[in-house]
Symmetry: C2
Subunit: 268 residues, 2 copies
DNA sequence: CGCTCACTTGATCAGATTCAAAACAAGTGG
DNA sequence: CCACTTGTTTTGAATCTGATCAAGTGAGCG
């Protein structure tokens, strides 16, 4: 996709935070996310909760962070989905990562003066903003959490490594397959999938920008996978019919069962 | 490149550690590396030095970490170069990262039971091995260093993000150009380049495995760049003649001047 | 000297892009 | 409720980039 740089200048639109609102999907907090990886003490949970004292609602398409924003602000994604991308000089876009509830947004600017990526919500979403100094403070106060959060960042990095291998060494069909499996697995992990069926909240153009293909070719590959009975599509919902075959052609490896934080000191 | 899985079974060859040996190039320690980013107190420097009490020499081609090794061992690369790669199911290889003196190797296994990558020395090298628990211990004892090390990991991640964008959205010529500039800049940063001239210690096959091309096509792109007077080659040494044009076609952005760790609390 | 490994070059082929146009869906305002 | 707009998906045809296959060159080494 080619980007119109003028469009980047329009103001960021945030929905107003209406704290009394009710939601059908409960938000996920950072303690939930980390708690899935290791046992947390009560103090640790409450320390994590302090990062999330504020909340903010976003509409689909609104930006949380933009290229060259002053670095410092970070977010915990509590509900909904988001993505990070960069714009290249020639105007093309590369989507780097998709974010799901429990993910920390804004990591990438940790060591820089300005943000190097743009992060936008790909659905209506709820985030908890905090400052990076608060995060570092937390990690300082509570080193075991610090290690856990570092490990969390490492998991994110692994997703990127895998995508790198996909882009470098897999053909178009395999890349689309890889994207579908990744999305299913990650949605499944946070309760957003219904078995093998899920709502892939992406346009084909976005899919292409994630895996390095044109939207036209993504379309062809989707219909090919459908024709081969590996997936089924109904509107914007996708069902994975043959996980094994998809994983094979995508060179996909599920990383979740290899995760291990047990070696960190046990909770006191 | 297609990998022969049998060949993976041959034993790892480590050179013997001869601690009395002399080297023309001085090793770089972690304190040097971090010290370039922020001011370190004497205590911090000595804490970092403790990670490196042991040293080990490696010959070109020997493996430091291999896929599925039990996770835990990490290394500081003090002298020489290395690379990390993954092997896909179909036997193809994707090189994920190149390592230079001052880099920490083995980050990727931080959150996993087993290593997900293979790390190999691409030249004779010297490393300091340590255990990940020692690293976490250090970060716990010395939170400011912990933040710095996290930031360092973030810098590495940025290199991968950039490569991802290169693979997804740049043509073959641009990818080769990107690789050359990246190598020059990183070598330059650790004193391994002579101005715009440097020894690219990679075969064309390795270059291809890094940027998702065949060795044959890498060759053609190199000669094209040479013909266009953007680079010059003499044996295995490369000279960048037109940095601007290369950066343009590679969509390259130098990240170094954006690095900022000043926001971390100052040294006590 | 003969081996191996990396590099080089040409010819052919397949996969992905590009360009163009049409079908479709959802939303807007009259 | 319909006409209109906008954005997404679908399909076809032509083109081009990079892969594949094959063969030859050259340097270093036992």
């Amino acid at each position: 996709m080619l980007i119109d740089f003028n469009a980047m200048m329009r103001p960021v639109c945030f929905s107003r935070d209406s704290s009394g609102e009710k939601h059908d999907v409960p938000g996920i907090c950072l303690a939930d996310r980390i708690g899935r990886l290791m046992t947390l003490s009560a103090e640790e949970s409450s320390a994590l909760a302090q990062l999330e004292d504020r909340g903010r609602l976003l509409r689909r398409g609104s930006a949380l962070l933009r290229l060259n924003d002053r670095a410092g602000e970070m977010f915990l994604l509590r509900r909904g989905t988001a993505m990070s991308y960069v714009l290249l000089r020639d105007g093309s876009r590369q989507i780097l990562r998709f974010h799901f509830p429990g993910d920390i947004l804004g990591w990438s600017a940790l060591a820089f003066r300005h943000s190097l990526e743009t992060v936008v919500a790909t659905s209506d979403a709820e985030v908890a903003p905090f400052d990076r100094t608060a995060l570092i403070g937390l990690m300082t106060q509570n080193p075991r959490l610090g290690a856990a959060i570092s490990a969390l960042a490492q998991l994110e990095r692994q997703v990127m490594s895998d995508r790198l291998a996909t882009l470098g060494r897999t053909d178009a069909r395999g890349r689309v397959a890889a994207l579908l499996i990744e999305m299913r697995d990650r949605m499944s992990a946070c309760g957003m999938a219904n078995g093998d069926e899920f709502q892939l909240g992406l346009t084909q153009e976005e899919m292409g920008d994630a895996v390095g293909l044109t939207a036209v070719h993504v379309n062809r590959m989707l219909r090919l996978l459908e024709e081969e009975q590996l997936i089924a599509r109904a509107g914007s919902r996708v069902t994975v019919l043959n996980h094994g075959a998809l994983a094979q052609m995508a060179n996909y490896v599920d990383r979740n069962d290899g995760v291990d934080l047990e070696w960190l000191a046990p909770a006191r």
